[in-house]
């Protein structure tokens, strides 16, 4: 884990101009993904997880304001010409988007769409690309892949669509796979299947950025965990440390809200991203907040080896 980061996000700010003001969906995010690791990115809805994933591949709307650096293997993706960026998408970095239900074009068969990914980057055509699509469907555990490749997305169940999307993202063997809530809206058994699939897909040469609000999934898959709150990373570190001995009050609150750990919700609701609270963004909801918390904005402080938290409790001295 000491080697060079595969992906390094530095000071990333993403803003959406709206009539009410600039929505700061991601505010000065620093994040590293190392080779062969699975980084779990957790946080509640609206904390900026998806935006971060989309920003890495430059998939956000053109009017989005993006600042900072996203270095992938030394190259800054934010300043890369569009033509070079196209070669990164799919081939270097694959993404499984949220909403598997609408992420496949209803007018083409699933096989056609997976073959499309193969054709775009690997120059395989016709029967070869189709053959590869069938193989990929088999890899992600779709039963009877030869027949299923010829079916349309609406004929697939939710879990199978998710698997098909994963197959599409894996089609060109990307070095980094971003998975945005791949277990969303699935029942427990299907979810288990998807988690197992993620732990099986050849991990020797691939890193995964696993975005979810489901802490259980992260416990099973992630080697490291980053916690996002109101557009900021508030805690990051090894999965065991962050989930076993959380440093930030928000992470503690998140864990305490799990059904098996008492199901105590965090009081209040997430702050506005247009005018975030001054000082620590979590302070209005934090049980341990004091005067300084409401006026001073804490930085990320190392609380253990490779374990950082953005909290005044540690920032003082």
């Amino acid at each position: 884990m000491t080697d060079e980061a595969l992906l390094e996000v530095r000071g990333l700010k993403v803003g959406f101009p709206t009539p009410d003001g600039l929505v700061r969906a991601s505010d000065t995010v620093d994040l590293r993904v190392y080779p062969q690791e699975t980084l779990g990115l957790i946080g509640e809805t609206g904390s900026g997880k998806t935006v971060l994933g989309m920003a890495i591949l430059r998939l956000l709307q053109p009017n989005t304001i993006i600042e900072g650096e996203i270095r992938y293997r030394g190259r800054d993706l934010l300043t890369l010409p569009e033509d070079d960026m196209r070669k990164v998408r799919g081939r270097e970095i694959g993404i499984v988007l949220q909403n598997s239900g609408t992420s496949l074009n209803p007018v083409y068969t699933v096989g056609t769409q997976i073959a499309e990914a193969v054709t775009l980057h690997q120059g395989l055509n016709g029967p070869d690309a189709w053959q590869r699509a069938v193989e990929l469907l088999d890899t992600v555990g779709i039963p009877d892949p030869v027949r299923m490749a010829g079916e349309y997305p609406h004929q697939f169940s939710g879990g199978m669509r998710e698997r098909a999307l994963i197959a599409t993202a894996l089609a060109c063997r990307p070095t980094l796979l971003i998975a945005d809530e791949p277990t969303k809206g699935l029942d427990a058994v299907t979810k288990r299947g998807i988690i197992d699939l993620f732990s099986e897909i050849d991990r020797d040469h691939r890193s995964v950025l696993f975005i979810t609000h489901d802490i259980e999934t992260v416990e099973d898959l992630a080697t490291r965990v980053a916690v996002m709150y109101a557009g900021e990373i508030v805690e990051v570190g090894g999965a065991k440390e962050v989930l076993g001995d959380p440093a930030h009050p928000y992470t503690r609150g998140l864990l305490a809200s799990l059904p098996e750990r008492g199901m105590q919700p965090i009081p209040g609701s997430a702050p506005s991203l247009i005018t975030p609270p001054p000082g620590c963004r979590f302070s209005p909801r934090c049980g341990r907040a004091c005067g300084d918390c409401r006026s001073e904005h804490p930085g990320l402080v190392e609380v253990g080896p490779g374990h950082y938290a953005r909290c005044m409790l540690y920032d003082r001295g």
Binding site: M54, L57, L59, Q61, P62, N63, R86, K87, V88, R89, G90, R91, G94, I95, L97, Q98, N99, T102, S103, L104, N105, P106, V107, E116, A117, L120, H121, L165, T168, A169, A171, C172
Partner: protein
Amino acid sequence: MSRKRVILAASFGIVFTYCAVALLAPVIAPYDPHAITGAPLSPPDEDHLLGTNDLAQDVFSRLIWGTRATLLLGFIGATIAVAIGTAAGIVSGYYGGLIDEAVMRILDVAMTIPIFPLLLIFTTFFRPKIYLIAILMGLLGSFQGVRVIRSQVLSLAVADFVVGTRALGAGDGYIMARHILPGVLPLAGVKFVTSAQHFMLIGIGLGFLGITDPSVVDWGQMINRASQNGAMVLGLWWWLIPPGLAVTLISLALAWLGYACEDEINPRLRVMRI
């Protein structure tokens, strides 16, 4: 079969028959449409199914050959109009921003140009060949479909599967051709049918005013000549009624077809029009 299906089948049948007649005109028509074939103004008999006109030309043969001019104007015009309109709508809606703004403002101006009077002036002064008239109709008519296509593309351009395809490394051209175009094809199809009908009627109108390509036989000119020469007053129905009926039938069939297609793509529009 429901009433709708009957009408749909009949419309298809009529359009298909017209196309077949246009293609097979030399085989079906008993005489050269320009040739003098006997006595002028003779009523229908076994030699002349629909009698003859004042120049002793066979009305039936002229009716058959006239199909070509009408279908040609309608279909070539509609093809050009829909191709340009769809392309402009897709580009405008997909890229948005300044491109969209530019296309929309150009359209605001272009939509105010009345097609028929402009064609009237053009044909009066230049007496163009029928193909040129068809192309010109297509160009002028292409403004009509852009907005409808664009509004559909606006929602398609932000669809998850479009973002997904971009995430696979696809370029704009590829996405527009493979993932946006199929989504607007039904709309373009309806536009094609309604434009074809519209252009056919414009063509007939131009013919009736006597300013189309004079070397081509067309129904508008036939109706014009018959009414100018008192077919109505003299009771020469075989001269006047057949071309009028032919126009009515094809334009009804296309209108029904257009409504039926529209109903299929947008059930909310399903009012009792047919």
